[in-house]
Amino acid sequence: MAKLTLDALSEKYARRLAGNVSRRSVISRLGALLVAAPLMPVLPVARSEAEEPSEFTRNAQTQDPKKCSYWRYCGIGGVLCTCCGGGVHTCPAGTTPSPTSWVGTCVNPDDSKSYLIAYRDCCGALACRTKCECEATDRDTPSYRPQSDNGIVWCLGLSTMAYHCSTAVLLGSAE
């Protein structure tokens, strides 16, 4: 398979892109990119400016990163590395961070501000055996919008493809 080396690049640009636009808009624009031509404009369904918080955001907490409700996990899907010998941004020993990641925007309930989070898989051993399995499907899109589909194994390009767990790396403020 093609070796993916867009890692630093993609996070960097995604961060800049997402700096003052909503995560939804980023997805929309990146999604459109994948379609070479013609770029048919898709009119989003009308919605208010100040959108209601999602179910995840309403229930988020900042104390326990071993729980699915930890605020950074608004877009995570899989097993939490915090339960597997890793940390919020640390892969467990013997595994390798995936070469690519998706950037989500999560609200920290302590300051009600939005932050950019890179979801990065750790690849290597079999799936980590733990109770800490989470699936936050906020804006998890189908496979034809792979940039936000949580079903694809993105350990591609590494010497091992086996998925082990997922981290949520804080990139910075989204406001």
């Binding site: 939804r24 898709v42 496979s143």
Partner: protein, 393 residues
């Protein structure tokens, strides 16, 4: 959790020489004790599957691999087909062949990656051959990651590395014919014998006819809002008729007849068809919405559409169904709503005149219903992480 168990078999000796020694010692005594009235010894043999019928169902383990061929009437397991993890299964015409699109590493979690379509005989379940592939998408398996044409002659393998393409294989000669780029699109919904359509990230459909040696891609107009209300990957489709229902996360049904020129019909709302308001895509709005691993099944002859529904907010499309809705897709009307005692993750329905509906629930029980009356006909427990497929669909 692991069902491998040790077992009792025996290698009876290490050396022929030793046997002859034993024989010499005991032969006389044994000969005298022969019982002429004893029944003739049984012989070890190997089963073949009974002739296929319309009530055959496949139970596919999406993650760990292996597929079980089950008789829908009795609930009996007829046989199993191995696969590596994250594989896709597809059937030849009338299930005469079983195809597995799989990715195997030469040392388990490491080594050389090998992508292939592995071909099994549909009756003996014997491995016939392997068709090496130049790639294959590696993901939680979706039905339309791998599909076979209606006549069973061609296989379509969705690939993403990360450019999107469909690898077309000839299943008569067991080789790759060509790879067709489908930029910005994904999956392969076969229609008839000579083409497939793919769903695209801008809300359109890409259609590839394989009649010509250089297949062209035709793109439809944008017909759904891929950003705010995408249609399910697991939208149900029939490879012979091309009849497809692209169904969105909020419950909008976009009927289509796939073909060289797909016919896209006017959309309708599942909720409106039940006399309710259409579901909103606004955060925080509660509504009945479709969801699950395989939330849809269509009985072609009657046009009945079965949908797993749950009460949820937007982006709850993976939540299991707590109600089963039965729609008359021609009249666009919900004709039945049934509460599910245990939440259901995946459904399938047979295509005959006495159809069976297969439901797998979160407690890993397969329940088989009469698809017309919704009466329970059979329960099979501990089916363990599978989804049901009706082959040759």
């Amino acid at each position: 959790m692991n069902h491998y168990r040790s077992r009792q078999t025996q290698q009876v000796t290490r050396r022929r020489g030793a046997w002859f020694c034993v024989t010499a010692v005991f032969a006389a005594a044994i000969a005298a004790a022969a019982t002429p009235a004893a029944p003739p010894p049984e012989v070890s043999d190997v089963a073949v599957l009974p002739p296929s019928n319309t009530h055959r169902v496949w139970l596919v383990e999406l993650y760990s691999g292996q597929m079980q061929v089950v008789d829908g009437d009795s609930g009996d397991l007829l046989g199993s087909v191995y696969s590596s993890s994250l594989s896709n299964f597809a059937s030849g015409r009338s299930t005469n062949r079983i195809y597995v699109a799989e990715s195997v590493w030469s040392k388990g979690n490491r080594g050389t990656r090998q992508d292939m379509v592995t071909v099994y005989d549909g009756t003996t379940l014997k491995l016939l051959t392997e068709i090496p592939l130049p790639g294959r998408v590696y993901m939680a398996p979706l039905t339309h990651n791998f599909a076979v044409s209606a006549n069973g002659a061609r296989g379509y393998v969705y690939n993403m590395q990360p450019a999107a393409s469909v690898i077309v294989t000839d299943l008569a000669t067991n080789r790759v014919l060509r790879s067709v780029d489908i930029p910005g699109c994904a999956l392969a919904f076969p229609w008839g014998d000579n083409g497939f359509s793919s769903l695209c990230g801008n809300g359109s459909l890409a259609t590839v006819s394989l009649e010509s040696p250089h297949p062209a891609i035709k793109r439809s107009e944008v017909f759904f809002d891929a950003e705010n209300d995408p249609v399910f990957d697991e939208s149900p489709s029939n490879r012979s008729t091309g009849r497809t229902f692209f169904i969105s996360y909020s419950g909008v049904v976009h009927p289509a007849v796939l073909g060289a020129t797909p016919a896209l019909e006017a959309p309708w709302s599942l909720q409106q068809a039940a006399g309710l308001q259409p579901a909103s895509v606004q955060n925080g709005t509660l509504a009945w919405r479709p969801g699950g691993r395989l939330p849809f099944a269509v009985h072609g002859p009657s046009g009945r559409l079965y949908v797993l529904m749950h009460a949820g907010e937007p982006w709850s499309h993976k939540k299991e169904g707590t109600e089963l809705w039965v729609a008359d897709s021609k009249e666009r009307r919900i004709v039945r709503r049934m509460t599910l005692p245990t939440a259901v993750t995946a459904i399938a329905v047979s295509q005959d005149a006495q159809p069976l509906l297969y439901l797998v629930d979160v407690k890993e029980t397969l329940t088989i219903l009469d698809a017309m009356t919704l009466e329970e006909k059979k329960k099979v427990e501990q089916v363990r992480g599978v989804v049901p497929y009706v082959p040759d669909l």
